[in-house]
């Protein structure tokens, strides 16, 4: 078995999803730190 199963199309799909997840995560974090100010709603945790 290869380290990265490059010939398996499923591998490309999961990699794409993982990259998308990271990008979304960064975007979300950046936006959150912008609009945290007003009502004290908080980014990382589950409460406001």
């Amino acid at each position: 078995m290869n380290q990265f199963p490059l010939s398996d199309p499923q591998f490309w799909w999961v990699t794409l999803l993982a990259v998308a997840a990271v990008v979304l995560l960064i975007v979300k974090r950046v936006r959150q730190s912008d609009d945290q100010d007003q009502n004290g709603s908080c980014g990382g945790c589950s409460a406001k």
Binding site: A18, A21, K28, R29, Q36, C42, S46
Partner: protein
């Protein structure tokens, strides 16, 4: 206001004494969910919202409550500044003040009222809690009030009446006050005239009985000893019932996710996509979702307790205990709020007038157990006291206690070293007792639960997907040992034995893959630092991941043990409990669970909180101090706890 203007925006400011219901009105107007509580000083900063009506945009500002615009207190200055209406909004705007007046404690509203009338801005008044005032023995004559003040007066007898208040009529009727009380000397005269004209006594006997009852309750609840014991008892009951009552629904959710995972495993072919779906997505979400019942219960109980008016009494009791550690009584509510989340807790410190008091409170607020730590507590407590629910409940309550004790101790230390100086005395008005509304508390709980779910569905899901990839790739080719096992399995004549060997080969392969993956490499790199508190490389990765969001710990652990678990989808907590380290010993033996639990109670693992600290405290150095102090205390006490448990005979 029928004025036609190019810029048809109306700016509405909600002003009034503390705890009169401004935020309740604000929420009713703009459909927001600002925090409301039967405690003065809940809104600490102006909150802005907007709504449309009569083809105009209305921008509403909910201000913190204040008794006067001229006090040397942060809330008064904030209101004063806002009502001068300077700043960029000034041009072409239509300003309007809605003064919220509380019928309970009516004359206390007069000083602020007089100052507002003198501003010469269009105004309208809303009188709240009139039904409650009647129970207390007086009735407000709204007609007379309207005539005396020269501005329209609306009534909100009950909290629910806020939602049916005719806002359009109120905005249309607002006008510049005509009767302005003159200089400060004549304000006293004006006040007593106003009171005589507008307040009528009703049913005095009933009111007296009620007052006597309240006084008696107060005497017990703020009593130095009885009050403290009652407070402790209230907290134990509250956190204890969060633990016990949530067990059953938690199990349901766990089973439901397990079933879905199993169904996907059997109906999909083996491959990366199935792995991502079962271990990454389902494993990740279920690791967070099963804590929904606890979150709901916690917020439900907190808001019930807050609405009764008990918290202000508790603040008085706490003041006595906090003062020796250099924390003011005003720190009580910020610290209590931090049990939901440290960020609103820290924002709430804006009303602490003394800078040193405030800084000390900000620094220690994140020690208190926020709801994001709850999942870790439940997991670890279940391991520490698997058979005895009573002990488990006590350990759970103990987690909260430990956080509070270390917070208070740290505050004492900070006040003796970095921030020396006396604290100001606390002045706090005791709000009336009130039967809390179950519906309101449920609404708040559901709102918070929804936020929690949204978070689980977004941030946590994303982290889990990324983590799944990192703990799956690069995959390790099968080594000779595994090869040998497989060959041996084929050679075996007994099919049962042969299957066992194959399973062994498979689990060995999974484990080696996970160890060799990026996450495994990272975990093994950081493991030496975290091993003293009981973490192996898998736990180390979960701890690292939870610096992004604390509640991701159980989820990410679930993803990782899922990737190298033999069985596909057992229920998530059971799966974590059954997982093993590389040497085949349990992943979480009791002493390690204890060490990690202590670490989690105390460690600073919340980036958003650090951002807020550095902003509120006025400098990144305070955030750094917080990070370093909390994390080192957590690590040291975690090591101590684990060593101590190992010395007591637990396996570690």
């Amino acid at each position: 206001m029928a004025m036609e203007s190019a810029d048809a925006t109306v700016h509405i400011s909600l002003v009034g004494n503390p705890n009169v219901g401004k935020s309740t009105l604000f929420n009713a107007l703009v459909g927001a969910n600002s925090r409301i509580s039967n405690y003065p000083g809940i809104t600490a900063d102006s909150v802005i919202g907007e709504f449309f009506g009569a083809q105009q945009l209305r921008i509403v500002t909910d201000l913190p409550g204040t008794y006067s615009l001229q006090l040397d207190l942060p809330e008064a200055q904030l209101c004063h500044q806002h009502l001068k209406f300077d700043g960029p909004l000034q041009s072409q705007q239509q300003n309007l003040i809605i003064v919220v007046i509380e019928a309970v404690g009516f004359p206390r509203n007069f000083q602020l009222l007089a100052q507002l009338l003198a501003l010469g801005v269009p105004m309208a008044a809303v009188v709240t809690k009139t039904a409650e005032a009647q129970l207390r023995g007086y009735q407000i004559q709204l007609q007379a009030l309207e005539e005396s003040l020269g501005i329209p007066v609306f009534e909100a007898a009950e909290k629910s009446a806020m939602r049916t208040l005719d806002v359009e009529a109120l905005i249309a009727a607002a006008r510049i006050p005509t009767s302005v009380p003159g200089d400060p000397q004549s304000i006293d005269q004006w006040s007593s005239d106003l009171l005589a004209k507008t307040s009528l006594p009703v049913r005095p006997e009933q009111a007296r009985r009620r007052r006597r009852r309240d006084d008696r309750l107060d005497r017990v609840l703020v009593h130095p000893i009885a009050g403290s014991l009652l407070f402790l008892l209230a907290m134990i009951i509250m956190f204890g019932s969060v633990y016990w009552m949530a067990q059953v629904p938690m199990e349901w959710i766990d089973v439901a996710f397990g079933t879905v995972g199993e169904w996907i495993s059997t109906s999909m072919e083996d491959g990366p996509l199935r792995g991502l779906l079962v271990d990454g997505v389902i494993g990740g979400i279920s690791g967070t979702m099963i804590f929904l019942p606890q979150i709901l219960l916690l917020f439900f109980l907190i808001s019930l307790l807050e609405e009764t008016g008990y918290m202000a009494r508790a603040a008085f009791v706490a003041d006595r205990w906090l003062r020796p550690f250099g924390l003011p009584g005003q720190a009580f509510v910020p610290l209590l709020s931090s049990h939901a989340c440290a960020i609103p807790g820290i924002l709430c410190t804006r009303l602490i007038p003394d800078r040193r008091d405030r800084l000390a409170t900000i620094l220690v607020a994140p020690f208190l157990s926020c709801s994001a730590r709850l999942p870790v507590y439940i997991l670890m407590v279940g391991i520490l006291a698997p058979a005895n629910p009573l002990v488990a409940g006590c350990v759970f309550v103990g987690c909260y206690l430990l956080g509070a004790l270390v917070a208070v101790g740290s505050a004492g230390l900070v006040r003796k070293t970095l921030l020396t100086g006396p604290s100001l005395p606390m002045v706090l008005e005791l709000p009336p007792y009130r039967l809390p509304s179950i519906g309101d508390a449920a609404r708040i709980a559901i709102d918070r639960g929804w936020t929690f779910l949204k978070n689980a569905g977004s941030v946590i899901l994303l982290i889990c997907i990324a983590l799944w990839w990192l703990s799956t790739y690069p995959s390790t080719p099968e080594g000779p040992e595994i090869e040998a096992l497989r060959v041996a399995a084929q050679a075996h004549s007994d099919p049962g034995q042969s299957q066992r060997l194959l399973d062994q080969a498979q689990s060995l392969h999974l484990r080696e893959s996970a160890r060799g993956s990026y996450a495994g490499q990272l975990g093994r790199w950081i493991e030496p630092v975290l091993a003293p508190i009981g973490a192996d490389w898998q736990l180390s990765v979960a701890i690292l991941a939870s610096f992004a969001a604390r509640e991701v710990f159980v989820s990410s652990l679930n993803v990782m043990v899922g990737v190298n678990a033999e069985e596909a989808a057992a229920s998530s907590i059971a799966r974590i409990r059954k997982s093993k380290r590389d040497d085949g010993s349990p992943l979480l033996p009791p002493a390690a669970a204890g060490g990690l639990l202590v670490f989690y109670i105390l460690a600073m693992q919340c980036l958003p909180t650090l951002v807020v600290t550095s902003r509120e405290a006025g400098g990144i150095r305070w955030a750094l101090l917080q990070l370093i102090w909390m994390t080192s205390v957590a690590w040291i006490l975690g090591v101590v706890a684990r060593q101590w448990m190992m010395a007591a005979g637990f396996s570690g």
